[in-house]
Amino acid sequence: MSRRLERRPAFAVTVTVVFFAWLYLPIVAVVLFSFNSVKSLATFQGFSTRWYVDFFHDSSLITSLTASLGIAAVAAAGSLILGTMLALGLERIRSRSGRAIGAVTLLPLVTPEIVTGVAALLFFTGLGMKLSLVTVTLAEITFSIAYVTVIVRGRLASMSPEVEEAARDLGCTPWQAVRQVILPTLVPALLGSGLLVFALVFDDFVLAFFTTGVDPQPLPVRIYSSIRFGVSPAINAVGTLMLAFSALLIVLALLVPRLFHRKTSTLDLIAGGERP
């Protein structure tokens, strides 16, 4: 892995620097201006935490934050349960129809989110459901199942089917084999995919925008509506907090497998990390 070129090509270095600047300068600006002492988005006058204080005193923002955390937690739990069941079921269907179902479960990953959003909206209103945090949560669970299924199936595929038979051989009923051997072996994958879903759902805007009611709104929707009436630097503070929180979750998700003495996880592969 650590084979180095003797001379760094200037072109590659330049492209890399420009790429990262393009990607991260706007975010750096948000973080920087969240600590600005004046209400300007153009000039930095001095360091201050007043916008953070503002944010924590804005009860409607806090309500939205709580709502988003709740949605993310419930969506993570719900999609973990359903996604794991789906993955376990798909492992057992080895026929052609099983493979077809497996491919269909991946559709949400490639469907434009706006399509999912509009579809969910039409579905809920068609059923006569009142849009609220419940509908947001339901939509987010549906959207997130695919992530859990992909990650859990990846782990299952690397497990020998003989492991389950070994459990049966040593005295387990089929349910006990899943409960005592399969699920514990999947724990790193479950924690990893749970954290990933939490991070994705927590700051998801499109689905939330289409499926939420008026009050309380999830945080990303709330921020969007407040921007329309002029940008308060408090939004920068919220953005910075969300950024820090999401980054923390992703780092956790990447670290989880290491805690279980495992060198790589499915997430590592997605993130382009170490390969076995």
Partner: protein, 369 residues
Amino acid sequence: MTTTDTQLTHDPATAESPAVSLRALTKVFGKETVVDDLDLDIASGEFFSLLGPSGCGKTTTLRMIAGFTDPTSGTVMVGGEDVTSTPPQKRDVNTVFQSYALFEHLDVRRNVGFGLRRKGIDRRTIDQRVGEALELVQLADRADDRPAQLSGGQRQRVALARALINRPQVLLLDEPLAALDLKLRRAMQLELKSIQREVGITFLFVTHDQDEALSMSDRIAIMNGGVIEQCGTPEHIYENPTSVFAAGFIGTSNLMPGTYGDGVVQVCPELRVPLLAGHGLTGGEQVSVAIRPEKIWLSELTPAMVQVPGTVVASTYHGATTQYLVDVAPDVTLTVLEQNLPRMSTGDRWTPGSRVQIGWLPEHTVLLR
């Protein structure tokens, strides 16, 4: 079916019910009959090997005994009890899997104790028996490691200890040594055999490796195409193969098809192999004769031998032995294996082109029909 050349054992334990009895056991997958009307008795305490090429049905047979595969028809009995429709967790058998199938989330101690915990045995007894089992496989010092931290050979031992600790009627081993390198495999063969003697549990060992089967087993069943071609002790099968398949699969044989007539099998006009009396063949019958390469002599021939002139076409030095290919007729080349004895020097070996007289004792001609 060419089965039941049953040399039932040297073991007096055969008086009790066999550890495993299979009756008319059949498994059909789709249109393919993988195991075909199989009958087999394995005596208690025996080291029994199912030997055959991949796809011969040996693993499917094992899986039907373990309970992972349901037979299409027939019965499986373990210790005299019909278990054909008993789920795997209630059968008194345990399996050592080819992939070892260790539980990665548990340390070695908990892996080994898993079966006893499921049976609800008290903790102190479990700890004691886990200790004993780990002693047996020489892994007492790795009890707290995770499977991921062990080498292939060590994982194999954990799998063995995890199955043996339950003291099953029968231990099923599905090519357990296949993933090990040659040297480790040889060492584990000896160790498995000595462990089996020590614990006295019936071992049913599935393998495609004839050396493994020959060196470890009390009895071997050679499987091919879902049926047992031949069953008997390693010596018996090696010395007296009853089918062309058995003769070819165990060791190497010089296999020659021919026509019987007047006490000889005519392989070709130049080569007529005389048979000893008592073969019961009638004239014109199509048969094969087989001769093991190490039974053919290149020197010190005696008048009692079947003697044939030939030409050496190739010679390969193997250290302890030298292998020659000898043309005895336009289309018949025999393989001959000669010991390199201490008194022989390089000059004593035949070189390609040499005219030789080869011979073998008539009782070493194996008749296959």
